[in-house]
């Protein structure tokens, strides 16, 4: 019965449990949650405050604007370039979402249901493409887009967005389909379905929450994507909102208040999407953890 620990001063069981009891108490948990929420909200709040100043007033170091003004918003919203950018972003995000869903749902299903030669390697390959820091792919991406003549065009940006988000969505869809018992597809096939019908009539309707989650996430991710869009667009006609906001950063000065106002306006649609669809996002992302 003698263990190697004998003779050492060990913290007693009661003391260790007491420590965990404190850590798990509602008060401590709430404190941590409040802290986390503040961590997320404070920069946004700061940005909103900045957007209420004038560009010059930003440099007088007050947190609260002395004379709050909506002039920055006015300046952003009357510009044609802003509305064009919103339109571009809508086109990019919608097209990307549709394409990613069309590709990732069948792919995720195939990875969840079928064993074929090289299936594991292929799946790891899909995930592997997301392991590179995107910045490392910027140069080849630029070269390829230049070669295809897609610089300064919406298809060029959409291609990049699909490349960026497809692997993640394949992964999410695969996990979602894996949470749907394959007995159901097999039963459907015995009942008279072809493999494709079993997918369409049984697995797909059951995966609807997952599909919704993937669609929402893809939309949000491609809406806010900045780096790849910045690389291929210098032109207003194909510029998405994430890049347009950046136009307030000049060579010699930064128009902070305008930048802040434009950012606040740019995140409004995403906030709406999250508020309306959070149910799907949560259920979609946690599906793999639930059994039946």
């Amino acid at each position: 019965m003698r263990s190697a620990d004998n003779g050492h001063e060990r913290i007693s069981y009661e003391k260790r449990q007491a420590f965990w009891d404190v850590l798990e108490s509602p008060k401590v948990i709430h404190l941590i949650l409040v802290f986390s929420v503040l961590l997320v909200l404070i920069p946004i709040f700061w940005e909103v405050l900045t957007s209420l100043k004038t560009n010059d007033a930003v440099y007088s170091l007050n947190y609260i604007p002395r004379d709050p003004t909506l002039s920055s918003y006015y300046q952003v919203l009357i510009g044609e370039r802003y509305w064009k950018a919103v339109f571009n972003s809508l086109v990019i995000s919608t097209t990307t979402t549709i394409a990613v869903i069309i590709l990732s749902v069948p792919a995720g299903y195939a990875f969840s249901r079928y064993r074929f030669r090289g299936d594991n390697i292929l799946f790891i390959g899909v995930l592997f493409s997301r392991l590179f820091p995107p910045i490392g792919l910027i140069v080849p991406y630029y070269r390829i887009m230049a070669w295809l003549g897609l610089l300064n065009s919406l298809p060029g940006i959409i291609t990049a967005q699909i490349y960026l988000w497809l692997p993640l969505m394949i992964y999410i869809m695969r996990n979602f389909f894996m949470s749907i018992p394959s007995d159901l597809d097999e039963s459907a096939r015995v009942d008279g379905c072809t493999r494709l019908q079993a997918f369409r009539k049984i697995a797909l309707p059951l995966a609807a929450p997952g599909v919704a989650a993937c669609a929402i996430l893809t939309f949000l991710y491609s809406w806010r994507e900045f780096l790849f869009s910045l690389i291929v667009t210098t032109d207003l006609k194909s510029m998405p909102i994430s890049v347009a906001v950046y136009q307030f950063v000049g060579d010699v000065s930064v128009q902070w208040a305008s930048l802040a106002a434009a950012s606040v306006v740019a995140i409004l649609p995403t906030i709406l999407v999250v508020v309306f669809f959070q149910r799907y996002i949560v259920s979609g992302l946690t599906a793999g953890a639930l059994k039946e």
Partner: protein
């Protein structure tokens, strides 16, 4: 909703009419399903071959209730899935209605299957679940309704038709799964451990109902279970599988009374048969089985077998079922026989109401424990020493080297 006509419609109706023509008087060669020389080899993660089913040959008669039974991993579910078309045999042929279906899709085989987890479609109501096989085959609406209502009536689930599967109890879900199979009017029913998710009481109740439904519907049924009691109670014939090999096939009573080897003897029957190591020698013109703690004179029919037997007499195991060991004190003088007695100590007493299960340990012996199933009047307590009289008409001798029953 679905206006496409599928090829399967034709074969389906053929199956139905074939059944309507003559299921009543089925002859012995009227085989509904034939499994011929079927082998299934899987590859594990490291690419090693695993033989799940090895050279299986079974002919299943029309209207028969055939049960595949064996421990987990014996290949019973794989065999069923090959009949269903959900797995492809590595070698061999599956024939249904005298037609080679080996390469055909499940939907083209005229089968219906009940899965262990019922596999009810969660997004459909009971009615939609049950009608799904008919809707996908574009049956006319009134026929669909008629068949669904009829099946629901047989199963007593009419009032559940508009519920979703999640609103049903396990037993009700089970009935819906059966209903979905019945509406198809398939040539063959396949059932993969359909009762194993139910609690003990419901399982026995559903077992009886399955028997009843089978008698009513009269269709060929292949049923997979790991539970020998289900196999015994349900099967017209039972197939015992172990390690992918067919051990024995026959009516349940035959398997119980006359098991081909030690595996079948130990698998069929609860509590299982006792195996007592022994040697056999000749003594005064009789054969005597000599265990560590008992010595019994073998009856004539066993002696006849031993006369023919060329193997070593000292490598035999004496097999006897618990109910063939009786409490000597409760027997009258005529039944009592010294040369059939086994003496041992009682270790555990389990009263079952109708019988008592006694776990016995032989005194001064390495021989493992064995079980006796004695009458409830036996007043014994743990620690008592008692004499059991063996009914040697029902004994068996197993060859230690092959496990084969030499008295088979």
């Amino acid at each position: 909703m679905n206006n496409t006509t599928y090829d399967t419609d034709m074969s389906d109706s053929k199956f139905i009419s074939a059944n309507a023509d003559g299921p009543a008087e089925s002859t012995d060669d009227d085989y509904n399903v034939q499994i011929r020389d079927v082998t299934k080899v899987f590859q594990d993660q490291d690419g090693n071959d695993i033989v799940a089913v090895d050279d299986l040959n079974i002919d299943i008669r029309r209207g028969e209730f055939l049960v595949f039974v064996g421990p987990s991993g014996c290949g019973k579910t794989t065999s069923l899935r090959m009949v269903a078309g959900l797995e492809t045999p590595t070698e061999g042929q599956i024939r249904i209605e005298d037609q080679d279906v080996t390469g055909l899709d499940p939907r083209e085989r005229g089968i219906a299957m009940v899965f262990q987890n019922y596999a009810l479609y969660p997004h459909m109501t009971v009615r939609e679940n049950m009608s799904f096989p008919l809707r996908i085959r574009s049956y006319p609406d009134d026929e669909i309704n008629e068949r669904v209502e009829h099946a629901a009536e047989i199963l007593g689930i009419t009032e559940l038709l508009d519920r979703k599967p999640s609103q049903l109890s396990g037993g009700q879900q089970q009935r819906v799964a059966l209903g979905r199979a019945i509406v198809r009017e398939p040539s063959v029913f396949l059932m993969d451990e359909p009762l194993s998710n139910l609690d003990a009481k419901l399982r026995i109740q559903m077992r009886t109902e399955l028997n009843e439904i089978h008698q009513r519907v009269g269709k060929t049924t292949i049923y997979v279970t790991h539970d020998q009691a289900e196999a015994m109670t349900l099967g017209d014939r039972v197939v015992v599988l172990n390690d992918g090999h067919l051990q024995q096939i026959g009516p349940p009573q035959e398997l119980y009374d006359n098991p081909i080897n030690r595996f079948v003897a130990g698998f069929i029957g609860e509590p299982p048969m006792n195996f007592l190591p022994s040697t056999v020698h000749e003594e005064g013109g009789n054969y005597v089985a000599d265990g560590d703690f008992f010595e019994v004179t073998l009856p004539d029919h066993i002696a006849g077998v031993l006369d023919e037997w060329n193997g070593p007499l000292d490598q035999l195991t004496f097999g006897i079922r618990p109910e063939d060991l009786n409490n000597a004190e409760l027997l009258d003088d005529e039944e009592y026989a010294e040369d059939r007695s086994i003496r041992a100590t009682v270790k555990i007493v389990e009263p079952m109401g109708s019988d008592r299960f006694l776990t016995m340990v032989p005194a001064n012996s390495e021989t493992p424990e064995f079980t006796a199933r004695v009458s409830p009047e036996s007043e014994v307590e743990p620690g008592d020493e008692m004499t059991l009289i063996a009914n040697l008409d029902k004994m068996h001798l197993f060859d230690d080297r092959s496990g084969e029953n030499i008295t088979y």
